[in-house]
């Protein structure tokens, strides 16, 4: 099954390479990986979706923790969470389907962010399935180019998985 992991890492050169290299070396396949800053200086946050059973993910998590620059890992799979993916899709509008394209943009609550006489760029955010659906609809109408960010994810509710005040300096007990 597809797991969504959030990985907090130190914002240092080469950390993305260390994480990606670990997936390769231990033969795990990354479905998608995103990385960006958090609101805490020096801390970056990755969202990784990866295929595997519980045992695989346990192994992966313990390997990731061996990386000195990895601070915290949370598996959001099965939890209440918000996941978002963003896509920019350039669509050919020269055909007679132009109005149909605009209609679909409305239906999917996407946005048109660039218009020329021959094409538009549509921006859409949502979970992966919604974007897949939108792409399926647009495909016969003439997609010229597309880019997707990959999923980012956050657990619902008021708790934060990042406890920045005491960034796990103390040793954690492990069962």
């Amino acid at each position: 099954m597809l797991h969504t992991l959030v990985i907090l890492v130190e914002d240092k050169p080469g950390v993305l390479n260390r994480v990606a290299s670990l997936f390769r070396r231990r033969a795990f396949n990354i479905e998608s990986l995103t990385v960006g800053h958090t609101h805490t200086e020096g801390l970056s946050r990755m969202t990784v979706t990866v295929e595997g059973d519980e045992h695989h993910i346990e192994r992966l998590t313990s390997y990731l923790y061996k990386l000195v620059n990895v601070i915290q890992i949370e598996d959001l799979t099965g939890k209440q969470m918000v996941t978002r993916d963003l896509a920019l899709i350039k669509v050919n509008t020269a055909s007679e389907k132009r109005s149909e394209i605009f209609q679909m943009v409305e239906v999917f609550r996407a946005r048109i962010v660039d218009v020329t006489s021959h094409s538009v760029i549509v921006e859409i955010t949502g979970d992966g399935e919604k974007i897949d659906g939108f792409v399926d609809v647009l495909r016969p109408l003439g997609i010229v180019e597309m880019v997707r960010t990959g999923a980012i994810a956050m657990e619902r509710g008021s708790d934060s998985l990042i406890n920045t005040s005491e960034l796990l300096f103390d040793s954690a007990a492990v069962a």
């Binding site: 923790y65 990895v70 796990l168 040793s171």
Partner: protein, 571 residues
């Protein structure tokens, strides 16, 4: 005080208590070498190849328990270290590698002797650093030593650009504050519920077996292991790297497990109702076929690295943390046990050891490696350090050198690195100058790092070399014999005259072709001032028994076809 980056490197090494560095100079680390003379407290050893330097530092670390330090220049200097780094990584050896790198402005431009060393070594180090700023040298080196020696130890590489080595800090001061790394947790402790569950399993087991691994030695838990085993009357099997965890002469020490382990040990594993894995990782050479491994046993795994838990073998209870600390908590709660039935059963499987004692076999005119190793054990002191290469001689050494002391058995287990033995012996001698040091090597592996003989000669140190010379890459030949219809492709090997090689290095060389000459040769080597090379011309097509073929069931061992050390030619 005013310090260059190069001086800061040495200042840090001094603060870390480093006494010996094995390194090779070159263009990108010349500033470090230029600054060396002002730090006479650190002895520098020049190997003949950076791989040799890495293995020397490794052997030094394994025998001393301290962090081993090896250095090399950029490019080929660093890539030559790679085998040594991977060897240390697989066997969890605390080491710091310091490499020179081209100047920061040249990085990425394919400059002369530029290599992406942190990229190359990323999967084979515990951690690594690329330092381009002089102000980062001290923090990187302090962290490197800390990471290398804490938790599950391992090699850390620090790659320092030449301009960082040359740059000057006007008001440099050593920072002695404790190191805290956000994402690094070397001091994990087990949950008390798990401890309770483990105690219950231990006290209710009737056929317990301890699997003692390298972790016993890394954690210095030899006394605690012995205390546990004696109190519970639990027999102990050792892994290849666990040799020395309990004296071989201890009645509860059954010997080595696994592919070339003792028959009764592997049967005991399969029949046990509780396996106590102490600082070992259920390597495939230890378990054989996982599907049929120890089918009757509950399993308790005490291990400092959480990623080893349930990796190869699913366990019932895991205790993550330092083995010594955990055993100190566990031992008082272990109920004294008799377990006479279990111990008697194992004794029955073992049979009369006098029958198997190869000393009791008459001299049939052949020289067998087993006799050489056994004589080496008989005629050397209990403090002797044995280092090995990889292959048949390594397994014979593990089987016939009955090691009683910890940290005296130095072998490349995980990576299985040929060429390890001689340089590791040189490093071991620096760690324990009062110990007699022997390296047992094959004719194949020895030739991989043979030039290090001259390093021993230059340093004036004495390590004796026992070449188990069978004219083959013996272990590969054995596999060809067993599994490839005796198709001895590319395993017969011509060697130079090793006696003359020794003499060419200004050392003594001895050739032994008969069993009756072994003792005199060992005595002569011991009496000589410097390093001595003995070329033991042993039986060419002897094999290591018993053997669990790769991936086979642990109890499905290939036994020696006839008597213990006879080959078909004898019949």
């Amino acid at each position: 005080m005013k310090r260059t980056g190069a001086q800061i490197v040495w200042e840090c090494l001094v603060k870390e208590g480093v006494q010996v560095v094995f390194g090779y100079p070159g263009g990108a680390n010349l500033p470090i070498y230029d600054a060396m003379r002002a730090y006479p407290g650190i002895h520098h050893v020049l190997p003949r190849h950076e791989q040799g330097g890495a293995h020397m530092a490794d052997g030094y670390a394994r025998v001393s328990g301290k962090v081993g330090v090896a250095m090399g220049t950029s490019g080929p200097g660093a890539t030559n270290l790679v085998t040594g780094i991977a060897t240390a990584q697989m066997d969890s050896i605390p080491m710091v590698f310091i490499t020179g790198q081209v100047s920061s402005k040249l990085i990425g431009y394919d400059a002369f002797q530029e290599t992406d060393v942190t990229g190359i070594t990323l999967p084979i180090t515990k951690h690594n650093y690329l330092v381009t700023d002089v102000n980062d040298i001290m923090p990187a080196l302090r962290e490197a030593f800390y990471v290398a020696r804490s938790g599950r130890p391992g090699p850390v590489l620090v790659d320092i650009t030449k301009d960082a080595q040359q740059a000057v800090v006007e008001n440099w001061q050593y920072d002695a504050s404790p190191i805290r790394l956000k994402g690094y947790r070397p001091d994990l402790r087990p949950a008390s519920a798990s401890l309770q569950k483990a105690i219950e399993l231990i006290n209710s087991a009737s056929r317990p077996l301890i699997l003692a691994g390298h972790g016993v030695l890394m954690s210095n838990a030899m006394q605690e292991l012995r205390g546990f085993a004696e109190k519970a009357n639990a027999p102990v099997a050792v892994t290849l790297l666990g040799i020395g965890a309990l004296p071989a002469s201890h009645p509860l020490n059954l010997g080595m497990m696994g592919m070339h382990g003792e028959t009764w040990v592997n049967h005991a594993v399969q029949e046990a109702d509780l396996l106590l894995a102490f600082g070992m990782r259920f390597d495939d050479r230890v378990t054989g076929n996982l599907k049929t491994y120890a089918p009757n046993a509950k399993k308790i795994h005490i291990e400092i690295d959480p990623s080893e838990i349930n990796k190869n073998v699913k366990v019932d209870v895991s205790l993550v943390g330092d083995l010594k600390d955990i055993l100190r908590q566990v031992n008082p709660l272990v109920k004294p046990g008799e377990r006479a039935e279990w111990l008697n059963h194992i004794a029955d499987m073992k049979g009369d050891s006098a029958v198997r004692d190869i000393q009791n076999l008459p001299d049939n005119g052949h020289l067998y490696a087993a006799h050489v190793i056994n004589d080496l054990w008989r005629f050397t002191g209990r403090d002797t350090v044995i280092t090995t290469d990889v292959g048949q001689h390594q397994m014979w050494a593990a089987q016939y050198f009955r090691m009683d002391k910890p940290h005296r058995w130095v072998t490349s287990g995980g990576l299985g690195t040929m060429g390890f033995g001689l340089p590791a012996a040189i490093g071991a001698k620096f760690a324990s100058p009062q110990s007699e040091v022997w390296t047992v090597v094959g004719d194949g592996g020895f030739q991989m790092t043979m030039p290090e003989l001259c390093t021993a000669a230059q340093e004036g140190i004495k390590v004796n070399v026992a070449i188990i010379n069978n004219g083959f890459l013996g272990m590969v030949r054995q596999w060809q014999e067993f599994f490839y219809d005796k198709n001895y492709e590319s395993t017969p090997m011509k060697s130079p005259d090793f006696v003359k090689i020794a003499e060419a290095n200004g050392l003594k060389g001895i050739r032994v072709t008969e069993r009756s000459q072994v003792e005199a040769a060992i005595r002569e080597a011991q009496a000589a001032d410097g390093t001595v090379v003995i070329d033991f011309r042993v039986e060419q097509e002897d094999s290591v028994y018993p053997m669990v073929p790769a991936g086979a069931d642990l109890h499905a061992m290939i036994q020696r076809p006839s008597a213990l050390v006879e080959t078909p030619q004898d019949v």
